[in-house]
Every structure is written in structure tokens, then in C-alpha cells.
């Protein structure tokens, strides 16, 4: 029997596989298909202080080996997430929850994190400073070392729970941003969010996505994500949640060898609602084939 357990800042996960924020809703759609308690943890849809409708549609465009999205942080707001979504999720899910939080000001980030801190099942707070689809917020904090560390410091001051800063790949030096977050007190780093891109409608000669630009994700970004996990691992000593294009058990192992302690699965859940389940089910088999007994021993093993 191989051992798939990993530990993220003291939080034990039965396996490293975590559905990524925004690609798994609050889990209900998937819990109708399989027992989502097989997941290592679950990261829910990015939550802001106020409810948000998000961007106008079309919000989705296809790409070779992936998709672009400009959902724009549609969510019911922190009050409803706490009063409605989390109680409903609790009925079908007993594993650790990763709370994904977004904001438009440092205060808003801190406010939401303080609120979510009181939720027992939330064991990790993932702070999204990397959403490319909202203006005056999201990614603007994630593209400078000052912005990133300001948010990290504010959030750390209101919670004792592990804080993971979710980084944008749309930067020149990802390791510098990660380092700034860690210096400001972050317990871990999540990366990557989507890469900014766009597509045109040839008939209309206009952008397909109403927001003009969107975030690219899916298998086409895997090599970029892997490279960034590698660079961040070389720079900081905190645990990393690696994501971006992960679609198979082999991808999970590759991410871990590059330096990830846990691995998130995003777009793959949208293409195949059983993707996370299949990855988890195949993981022991692939470990055996590769001669891995203990998954946590391979973290950063390629360095």
C-alpha cells in the first residue's frame, strides 16, 4: 500500500488533490456524481465582501488545449457564503475546506478573511491576488511586491489559520512576489492563476469575450505553471499548492517533483466532471509504477 498523505501547514490531507477555486462551485454539482469526500480538500469559488454578478457574457472562449474565462468573480458575497453555501456544503463534505477570498481593497481582503476565519471547516485561507478578470482589484495586488505583501500582512493580522497567497503568472518575476508574501507572513503560496489572453470572432471581427480579455487555463498552461512552481520552490521555504493545467495523476507527480506539496485541479473538472476523482483513483497505481511509496517524500524531488 502506497501512502498518498501530505501535510499543508499542519493540515493533513488524505491525498494532495484539491479542486481549484471557480471550477468546482461549492461542490454540489459534483457530489451528485461521486462522493467528494475522496478529495484531499476543496477550494470554493472566489468570495468577495459584496455579492457580485460578474462580467457580462460571453465569458468563455475556447483555446487549443484549454479555455479562456472572464467570469469576473461572480459570487453571492461573504454573508451568504457563510449563511447558505457553507452549511449546504457541510452536508456533503467533511474534508478540509480551502476558502478562496478576493477583494478590491486591502480592507476588504482583511474583512472577508476575518469573517471566514470563524468557520471551523475552513482550514486554509487562499487569498486570490491574481484575478485577471476584474478591474481595480484582484490582479493589481498580485503584480507588485508591495501590493502582494500589503494584502498578506493585513490578512495575517486577522487570522491564525494558514494563509496561502494565490499568485498571478502575469508578472515578470514570480519568485520575487512569492518571497514578498512570505516575508509579510504568508504560510504558503498557491500558483498559478490564469494567464491573461484573448480570442477574436472572425465573422464579427470583435473579441469573443465581452470583457475583451480573459484568463487562459487548461493543459496548455501546464509547462508555464510547472516552471513557476519550480522557481518559487527554489526561492521560498513555505509549502506550495501547484496548479495550472493539471489533468492526470502523472501531472500531479510532476508538479510535486517541481516543488508542490498539494496540487489543484481546475479546468479539467469542467471538461470532465469526474476528472478529480479519476486522478485520485489512479494516483496509487502511478505511484507504484514509478516506485514511489510515500508521496510526501517526492516534494521538490527534481531539484
Amino acid at each position: 500500500m502506497v501512502n498518498t498523505e501530505v501535510t499543508l501547514s499542519g493540515v493533513k490531507l488524505s491525498n494532495p488533490v484539491i479542486p481549484a477555486s471557480g471550477t468546482f462551485g461549492y461542490g454540489y454539482e459534483f457530489s451528485e456524481l461521486y462522493d467528494i469526500n475522496i478529495l484531499g480538500a476543496l477550494s470554493f469559488k472566489g468570495t468577495t465582501k459584496e455579492p457580485r454578478f460578474g462580467n457580462p457574457t460571453p465569458r468563455i472562449a475556447e483555446a487549443e488545449g484549454g479555455l479562456l474565462n472572464a467570469v469576473g468573480l461572480q459570487n453571492p458575497g461573504i454573508d451568504k457564503v457563510i449563511s447558505e453555501e457553507l452549511p449546504r456544503l457541510r452536508k456533503v463534505f467533511r474534508k478540509p475546506i480551502v476558502a478562496n477570498i478576493s477583494g478590491f481593497s486591502v480592507d476588504e481582503y482583511a474583512y472577508c478573511c476575518e469573517r471566514i476565519d470563524k468557520e471551523e471547516q475552513v482550514e486554509i485561507i487562499e487569498v486570490n491576488i491574481s484575478c485577471p478578470n476584474v478591474h481595480n482589484g484582484g490582479m493589481s495586488f498580485g503584480t507588485t511586491t508591495e501590493g502582494a505583501s500589503e494584502v498578506a500582512r493585513a490578512v495575517k493580522s486577522v487570522t491564525k489559520k494558514p494563509v496561502y497567497m494565490k499568485l498571478s503568472p502575469n508578472v515578470t518575476d514570480i519568485a520575487a512576489i512569492a518571497e514578498a508574501c512570505v516575508n509579510a507572513g504568508a504560510d504558503g503560496i498557491s500558483l498559478i492563476n490564469t494567464l491573461m489572453g484573448m480570442r477574436l470572432d472572425l465573422r464579427r471581427r470583435k473579441p469573443i469575450i465581452a470583457n475583451v480579455t480573459g484568463g487562459l487555463s487548461g493543459p496548455c498552461v501546464f509547462p508555464v505553471a510547472l516552471r513557476m512552481v519550480w522557481q518559487v520552490y527554489e526561492r521560498v521555504k513555505v509549502p506550495i499548492m501547484g496548479l495550472g493545467g493539471v489533468s492526470s495523476a502523472e501531472d500531479v507527480i510532476e508538479m510535486m517533483l517541481a516543488g508542490a506539496t498539494a496540487v489543484q485541479v481546475g479546468a479539467a473538472n469542467l471538461k470532465d466532471p469526474y476528472a478529480s476523482m479519476n486522478i485520485i483513483n489512479r494516483l496509487p497505481q502511478v505511484m507504484e509504477k514509478l516506485g514511489i511509496d510515500n508521496l510526501s517524500e517526492i516534494i521538490g524531488g527534481a531539484h
Binding site: F53, N69, V71, K271
Partner: protein, 244 residues
């Protein structure tokens, strides 16, 4: 929703750029007319959403127009090919409100879901009137199929080559009194029928989809009752809740 492998039984061009594909597989997740399937195509990342046109216990029929690379790929599939489908997606049409003589109004690629709806309404003893709109004669499909079901059928063509000259709304002028409208087609057509219809009704919308089953928030629209996901809370919306 169910995920399953379906086998192509037949795939043939039934009108200009328009194909009818019969697939065999487990259709048990399909519970209402107006629902759709989301089809995985080799070499494409996103699945293609297509309405269910007709459904039996172990087979279903879809009709699709070739508009881009994905539907072009579909048109080249032959019998025996296997496709991965998510089936039973969306809310579908609700039948309770139809009254005795509902209008079933479909435009172009919006005609297919009207077929299953028509069958079910006829089975319930209703007298549906089908109004189908096309641009030109060579685009027309399924007219005889609807007539064979025993439904009163009106065809409107934009160029006047067959039936009523004009749009489905011109077809509406020819049918007398009606109890309800069920509508599917391009958005300008939905809006025109919405404005013209004197009864309540249900309208089926399209949106670009990331998942098709409610997980990504890629397809959200505003309604009078709040945000709705076209793929999960729709594609069918009641006339009373629509915001244009």
C-alpha cells in the same frame, strides 16, 4: 446529469449545412423536452452543447448546424464512432402551463427541441401548433416529421420561397388564437416573439459554456428573480422573468 459513451447510429445531412445524428446509449438522465447534451469532441477542449431533438430509452437524436470547427468535425463522423456525452443537462420546458393550443416556435437550429416537446404535448392530448422559421427553402428540415406526428405546422421563410414570407412572427399572424408559446432560436427571434406574443410562455436561451452543468458560472444571465445559469437553471426561462 449522466456522463456516458454514446455510439453514432447515423449521421446525415438533412438540409443545407444541417445534420441529423442518431446516437445510442443510456438516455435515462434526460427527463424533459428542451434539455441538452454536452458533447466531447476529439481535439477540442470544450464540449459542444446541442439540444435533444428526440429521445427513446436507449437512443437520442440531435440536429445541428455546421457553424464552426467543432460542428464541422461532427459532420464527418460516421456510424460506429463513439462520443462522450454529458446528458440530461438543463431544466427543459415545463408542460403544465401549456393550455390546449400552445405555439411551438423554432427558428433554424432552434427547431430541434420542438420535436420532442411536440410529441409529449400531443401525448397529453394538447393541440400544439408548430411554427418553424428558416432563411431559405434549402434550410428547411423536419417539416414532414412534425406533420406526421399530427401537429398543425406552419413554415415561414425569410425569402418567401416556402410558406409564409417573413419571420416566425409573421407565421404567428396566421394561426389564430393560442394558449401559450414555447420558443427556441437566435436571440433576436426570441425577443421578437416575446414582444408579439399575447400569452405567457417559455423561451430557450443560448450562451457560451465552460462546463454545461453549473460549476463555472460561465453562462450566467440576469433575470427578474436574480442571476441564473443558462446551463443549469435554464436554458429555458419563463417570459415573466426575462430581462433583455
Amino acid at each position: 446529469m449522466k456522463k456516458g459513451i454514446f455510439t453514432v447510429v447515423s449521421n446525415r445531412e438533412i438540409a443545407k449545412n444541417t445534420y441529423e445524428m442518431v446516437l445510442s446509449g443510456d438516455t435515462s438522465a434526460i427527463t424533459a423536452p428542451g434539455q441538452f447534451v454536452n458533447i466531447e469532441l476529439q481535439g477540442f477542449y470544450l464540449r459542444r452543447p446541442i439540444s435533444v431533438c428526440d429521445v427513446e430509452r436507449s437512443s437520442l437524436t440531435i440536429i445541428y448546424k455546421v457553424v464552426g470547427k467543432g460542428t464541422e468535425y461532427m459532420s464527418r463522423l460516421s456510424a460506429g464512432a463513439e462520443l462522450d456525452l454529458l446528458s440530461g443537462l438543463g431544466n427543459g420546458y415545463s408542460l403544465g402551463e401549456s393550455g390546449e393550443r400552445p405555439l411551438l416556435i423554432g427558428g433554424g437550429a432552434g427547431v430541434p427541441p420542438m420535436y420532442e416537446l411536440c410529441k409529449v404535448l400531443l401525448k397529453e392530448g394538447k393541440k400544439p401548433v408548430v411554427i418553424m422559421g428558416f432563411n431559405t427553402e434549402d434550410e428547411i428540415f423536419y417539416r414532414e416529421r412534425f406533420e406526421a406526428l399530427g401537429a398543425e405546422t406552419v413554415v415561414a421563410t425569410a425569402d418567401g420561397s416556402v410558406g409564409v414570407k417573413g419571420f416566425v412572427t409573421d407565421g404567428m399572424d396566421t394561426v389564430g388564437e393560442y394558449s401559450y408559446v414555447y420558443v427556441c432560436g437566435p436571440e433576436p427571434m426570441l425577443k421578437a416573439v416575446y414582444d408579439k406574443s399575447v400569452t405567457s410562455g417559455q423561451f430557450s436561451f443560448e450562451e457560451r459554456m465552460g462546463c454545461g452543468f453549473g460549476a463555472c458560472m460561465g453562462c450566467t444571465c440576469k433575470t427578474k428573480y436574480g442571476s441564473k445559469r443558462i446551463c443549469k437553471d435554464g436554458p429555458v426561462l419563463f417570459k415573466e422573468e426575462i430581462i433583455w
